[in-house]
């Protein structure tokens, strides 16, 4: 740690100590990126916690989208005014982990605060993403989603399909039929192109995306996104793009409206789009697990999560950490988790909350909300499906998307595009490694 930072943190701590009179309520700042109904849920949680006890006051503040919140937190840390709790999206995990001294690992926090904490109470497919290879939980999962296939059931009926395609070959065939049945511009499409066609694809088929357990075991990881499965899949997509059996909808999620508007009858997207689909789709809809290649051994494996977790920032006072730990215990309560899951559509983080929702008959009424959970818990996670920990993943996703776009446009062969994506990505990983470990 640079000496100036230490001084800044010390000064900030002294300043706080001087400013807060004895016995006053300790404020805990919580920066988050939730909007709309999810923002209400965040505020409600804080209110309930504040009402339930008198020692601490959680103050939630909206700081913009995920990227903006992370940047705001980083800038605040540099200025010595970081919040106590920061919501960081899953691809920012390696960035946060690399910042030793800037963050307080959750397992340490809970131990020091003496809060009851059993890592096994949480769904391993979710906490695995945020834990070290030894199973130590670094950040507290908050809102988790996964990738699902959203389908227009009315459209499927037109081509005589009673249920969604289960394998990729079935899907390509269905999309071709849909193209002739009133969807000339788009048989199927997707949002978050790299999340689906590289990250989830690899985990779902139990093949590595990168060495060292997808980066979980060390910074010296290299990409394996140019393996036979990924190349074959991209080649299939590029072929389907030619006649719009598949039609590309951009790198992020702005293309999701093509599903709700009825232009694309099948669309891959976050399970967190539940509220969006429910509000906007004017047809009979549903969701299904991602397809797989039936000849791939062991497929389907399990999917990996998206969404965000709560990171505790470093350099705060022990008393404040006690408050944060109590807040996390409060969040883990089974009834609260179940209610949060059922109202927002995000996944429950504890096994008990999942069981409770099942027992309540919630999934009989809302089968769509169980699809991502079934994907996640399909099989016990392996090295290839526990999660990803790649430095600079936000920007690396753009680089991968650039190469995928070149393949879809027919400018590069699938193998060449993914080879170049791997080469460029590896350069970024080495850069991250250099920055993260002082020589």
């Amino acid at each position: 740690m640079a000496p100036t930072t230490t001084i800044r943190i010390t000064l900030a701590a002294l300043g706080l100590a001087a400013a807060s009179p004895a016995l006053a309520v300790t404020e805990l700042q919580w920066w988050h990126a939730m909007t709309g109904a999810n923002n209400d849920a965040v505020n409600r949680l804080a209110e309930e916690f504040n009402a339930a006890q008198g020692d601490y006051k959680v103050v939630p503040t909206y700081k913009g989208n995920y990227g903006e919140t992370l940047n705001a937190g980083i800038a605040a840390f540099r200025a010595g005014t970081a919040p106590h709790i920061m919501q960081v999206f899953e691809v920012g995990t390696a960035t946060m982990m690399g910042a030793k001294g800037a963050v307080k690992p959750v397992y340490q926090l809970m131990k020091e605060a003496g809060e009851p904490f059993d890592p096994n109470a949480y769904l391993p497919a979710i906490t695995g993403y945020y834990s070290t290879s030894k199973g130590e939980m670094l950040s507290f999962p908050f809102n988790s989603s996964s990738m699902v296939m959203w389908v227009n059931k009315d459209a499927l009926k037109k081509i005589g399909l009673g249920e969604a395609p289960r394998t990729w070959p079935e899907l390509f065939a269905a999309a071709k039929a849909l193209k002739g049945a009133g969807f000339p511009n788009c048989g199927f499409s997707n949002t978050w192109v790299t999340w689906l066609h590289l990250e989830q694809l690899s985990a779902w088929h139990n093949v590595p995306l990168a060495t060292r357990a997808n980066g979980m075991d060390g910074l010296d990881t290299t990409l394996e996104i140019n393996g036979p499965l990924q190349v074959r899949h991209l080649a299939n997509l590029a072929e389907a793009q030619k006649d719009k059996t598949f039609d590309y909808s951009g790198r992020y999620d702005s293309g999701f409206g093509r599903f709700t508007a009825g232009e694309c009858p099948i669309m891959f997207g976050s399970s967190g789009s539940y509220g969006n689909v429910k509000g906007a789709a004017k047809f009979d809809w549903g969701s299904a697990p991602m397809p797989y290649y039936p000849d791939a051994p062991g497929a389907p494996q399990n999917s990996i999560i998206g969404g965000a977790s709560l990171w505790v920032m470093g350099g705060k006072k022990p008393d404040e950490y006690k408050g944060v730990a109590r807040f996390f215990t409060f969040l883990s309560d089974t009834n609260r988790q179940a209610a949060l899951h059922q109202s927002t559509g995000y996944m429950p983080i504890t096994k008990a909350a999942y069981e409770k929702s099942k027992a309540d008959g919630f999934y009989d009424r809302n089968p769509v909300l169980e699809v991502p959970l079934k994907e996640l818990t399909n099989k016990p996670p392996t090295e290839n499906s526990r999660g990803l920990r790649l430095g600079n993943l936000t920007q690396m996703r753009d680089v991968w998307a650039e190469e995928i776009e070149a393949a879809l446009a027919g400018k590069k062969a699938a193998q060449q595009a993914l080879d170049e994506a791997a080469t460029r990505g590896n350069a970024m990983l080495r850069q991250f490694e250099k920055q993260a470990t002082p020589r």
Binding site: M1, A2, T5, G67, N71, I74, F77, R78, T95, G98, A99, K100, G101, A102, N185, C186, Q241, Y248, S249, G250, R251, Y252, G257, R258, A261, E263, N392, T394, Q395, D398, A401, E402, E403, E405, A406, L408, A409, K411, M428, Q431, K434, Q435, A436, P438, R439
Partner: protein, 294 residues
């Protein structure tokens, strides 16, 4: 030009008079610029926990990256297209609006409006119009048999960002061209008309040369605009894609610095960008200005 100059007696008063301006320029221009230069010699992690002085390593990485030269080429094409298109259209509109026509004031006012539109909003507007499947213009193009798809076709994406960026700048150029046209003495043009020169000839032999100081000034401004201020449009419309077809220098600075949290590398790019813009402006003043008749 007269050589008489008004001079101040003391030194204190002139210093006090220019102090506010110098303070602002120093604080908001030179200080950040120097910071960028300083950062470009460093390598840092996102949180600033470890900082290492690496001399010219960031620059070396930049200049050995073939992708960077491609981005430079993209930027030059983009800047030339934006400046050419917006200057051409603005001049045409100004020449038309300069005539005696009914409700001329109304046209002139309306033509200035787009300048008040923020780049990001201009991007959103063009995004709506040109979105495949939903946009009106995109649908029209498809009906005409043009397979419009800026999401995958790099040329289409480039055309889209050039149109949006040029459209946004037309108003500004129009304003200056109109003022320039109105400053040209009517007697000269009338004399030419009496001598039998047609409108086209009058424009090219009288109006255009007399307008050259304005054109020159606008050229400098437009090139700087295309280089540095079009970030919002690109971010909203294409994110620099597809592939890297619309990644300009300033967009790459953002991608590497803000998304990639590589402050040193992106600072080095800013410094290079700064040098390029200064260089281009200097060249324009040195060589183009010679051919300008004031």
């Amino acid at each position: 030009m007269s050589t008489d100059r008004v001079t101040f007696g003391g030194r204190l008063l002139p210093a006090a008079l220019i102090a506010p301006q110098l303070t602002i320029v120093g604080l908001f221009f030179y200080w950040p610029a120097l910071q960028a230069v300083w950062q470009s010699f460093q390598m840092q992690d996102a949180f600033g926990l470890s900082t290492e002085f690496v001399w010219l390593e960031n620059y070396r990485a930049l200049f050995t990256d073939p992708g960077y030269y491609r981005t430079l080429g993209t930027t030059l094409v983009f800047a030339a297209a934006v400046a050419g298109l917006s200057l051409g259209f603005a001049l045409l509109l100004a020449a038309m609006a300069d005539r005696e026509i009914r409700a001329g004031g109304l046209y002139r006012t309306l033509l200035i409006w787009p300048y008040a539109v923020a780049p990001a909003v201009a991007g959103v507007l063009f995004g709506f119009l040109f979105q495949p499947g939903l946009g009106i213009v995109a649908r029209g193009l498809n009906d005409l048999g043009v397979p419009w798809n800026p999401l995958l076709n790099g040329d289409h994406a480039m055309i889209l960002v050039v149109l949006a960026a040029a459209w946004k700048q037309i108003s500004y150029n129009f304003l200056f061209f109109l003022a320039g046209l109105q400053a040209i003495p009517a007697s000269v043009i009338e004399a030419a008309a009496i001598d039998g020169a047609g409108p086209a000839r009058r424009f090219w032999t009288i109006v255009f040369p007399l307008l050259s100081p304005t054109t020159f000034f606008l050229m400098v401004v437009n090139v700087v605009y295309a280089f540095c201020e079009t970030f919002g449009i690109i971010d909203v419309l294409t994110h620099g894609g597809p592939g890297r077809a619309t990644q300009t220098l300033v967009y790459k600075v953002y991608q590497d610095g803000r998304i990639g949290a590589d402050l040193g590398g992106s600072a080095a790019q800013s410094v290079v960008l700064m040098a390029i813009v200064i260089g281009l402006t200097a060249i324009q003043f040195r060589y183009v200005e010679r051919r300008v008749a004031y």
